[in-house]
Symmetry: C2
Subunit: 345 residues, 2 copies
Amino acid sequence: MSFMLDEIREQPDWVERAVASERTGAAALAAAMVDRDIRFVVIAARGTSDNAATYAKYLFEIVAGMPVALAAPSVCTLYDAQLRWHNTLVMGISQSGEGTDVVQVLSSARAGGALTACITNSADSPITSVSDFTLLCHAGKEKAVAATKTYTTALAVVALLVGHVADSRALLDFLDRTPDAMRAALIADDAMPEAVLRFRYMQECAVLARGVNQATALESALKMTETSYVVAKPYSGADFQHGPIAMVDQGFPCFVYAPDGRAYASMLDLAMRIRDRAGEMVVFASAPEMLGLGVVPIPTPQAPHELVSPLVSIIPGQLFAYHLSKLRGADPDSPRGLTKVTRTR
Amino acid sequence: MSFMLDEIREQPDWVERAVASERTGAAALAAAMVDRDIRFVVIAARGTSDNAATYAKYLFEIVAGMPVALAAPSVCTLYDAQLRWHNTLVMGISQSGEGTDVVQVLSSARAGGALTACITNSADSPITSVSDFTLLCHAGKEKAVAATKTYTTALAVVALLVGHVADSRALLDFLDRTPDAMRAALIADDAMPEAVLRFRYMQECAVLARGVNQATALESALKMTETSYVVAKPYSGADFQHGPIAMVDQGFPCFVYAPDGRAYASMLDLAMRIRDRAGEMVVFASAPEMLGLGVVPIPTPQAPHELVSPLVSIIPGQLFAYHLSKLRGADPDSPRGLTKVTRTR
């Protein structure tokens, strides 16, 4: 029927497989990071993989205490900059393994003395040849052009790696329990055809989250933009309330991700401010108080812990984008203007 | 008449003053970075200052070869993470110097052994008390709520600092010649009331640039969102063409910043793809070939060099946002929902 819908549904199984398959690889990379005295991480990625990189930034910093920069590939590709890469892990994330600028960043960094690694769904792709360590997503072939299962499996591999780098038994335990929470999140599919109805003619919206779910806001907005051609603008809740909230007036649609955890209280504050401005909210949460603020509440199961909640929260977001695309008569499996491999120079 | 318009016009003078006043301070910080064997830079900022931080990332990496991370303040403020800050400069950018989460990041980093610095328009503000070095914008009091002159002066101070860190006489020379190019850019004001007319009812748009002018796309989009409540979505040209370009169809408005330099060729490619999809472009450029693709061409004077072009290119962008706001009956001096000091927890 639809590759995208099938692939959304398969995610819990692929995540389970990725975690089981890459334990040894993650441990080996973590050990190499100790050997090489790695203190700083730089991640290069584009599109959906760049959203996985945002998740990696939060997780590395919060759990492993290691500052993370997201690479601006053009620094290497357009400006030929030679960076000083001592004590740095440069990691590429690319589902196809063929993103030319990401490969170029890794190649340049490796020549400059960095430890390099990649997270990819394609063994033997170009990115693996410039990586000292390769971690695989094990997500099978992704047939829909809009990425879903390569996103969540990349998040899982990131969590696995950070769990080993920080030697955090707790994070690894949360991760092991995540696929079941993802399965529970799939039941949102039933209510989705009705939930998307009122957004048939939506032209623009804001997508909001904070903390580790910043990645969820970015990825949810990207899925809506790619498959339904909506101008969906992602924001950190913190940034949004100082300026951009100006665009919220009567009926302005805001998508709010607010799972339980450290970011919850500030998202609740923000949601109340949006309600005061008569904005219209789609709320992805498990707390009844938060759900009650949504004109469209999407109950989302609790994740084992906030740190792994992005793997769970994105599922209703993907389902929303899929059903909205169908409703609007678009083809979510092969949206206009989208190609699977990014070959930026 | 309007604080915002006055402040846009004053920018070349303030930039001149900032560069003249902070030479010694920039040299001192650069020397301290050598003493402390600084290899990485982390920048904390919100809103407009975060766009200045994006400029700083490109400049530090391209000219000084030093990897730069943009801080996610919630890592400190929500998750209480203790990062390892050895060999790291942590720099805050805040016009008011009172942004609570930015101050908290610096305070935490300083306690953890980082060298700290700030760029602010407010001497003796809280951020200066947690900074080992303070660089001032010297922009006078900013009366309009939408920031303009504190943005360009912050860019100037960044360029001054990087020029000293990299010991780049060339960059410092370009910077000295920038205020005159900014003055020339102000003449765009005359044509602007007519240029904005057709966008009276625009609801959403994309704002595009690449390389060092990524900051220009971000800041131009933010100004339109803040003062005209348009959903203006900034993109790197490289990211845009792999996915989000799906939203461009007949008449979809795209704002394209394409000054001369390394990023020009790829922006020209992108503009031709947008034209093929019948998107409607506002083009900020000096090259006639590029201007010819715009339904609204905004001729912009050449900057002394691409590396300082963001100080010049943003001026017509600010003027566009100002005149659009007036046309739509909004008050650009005090937009709804916007406050001058950001106090995120």
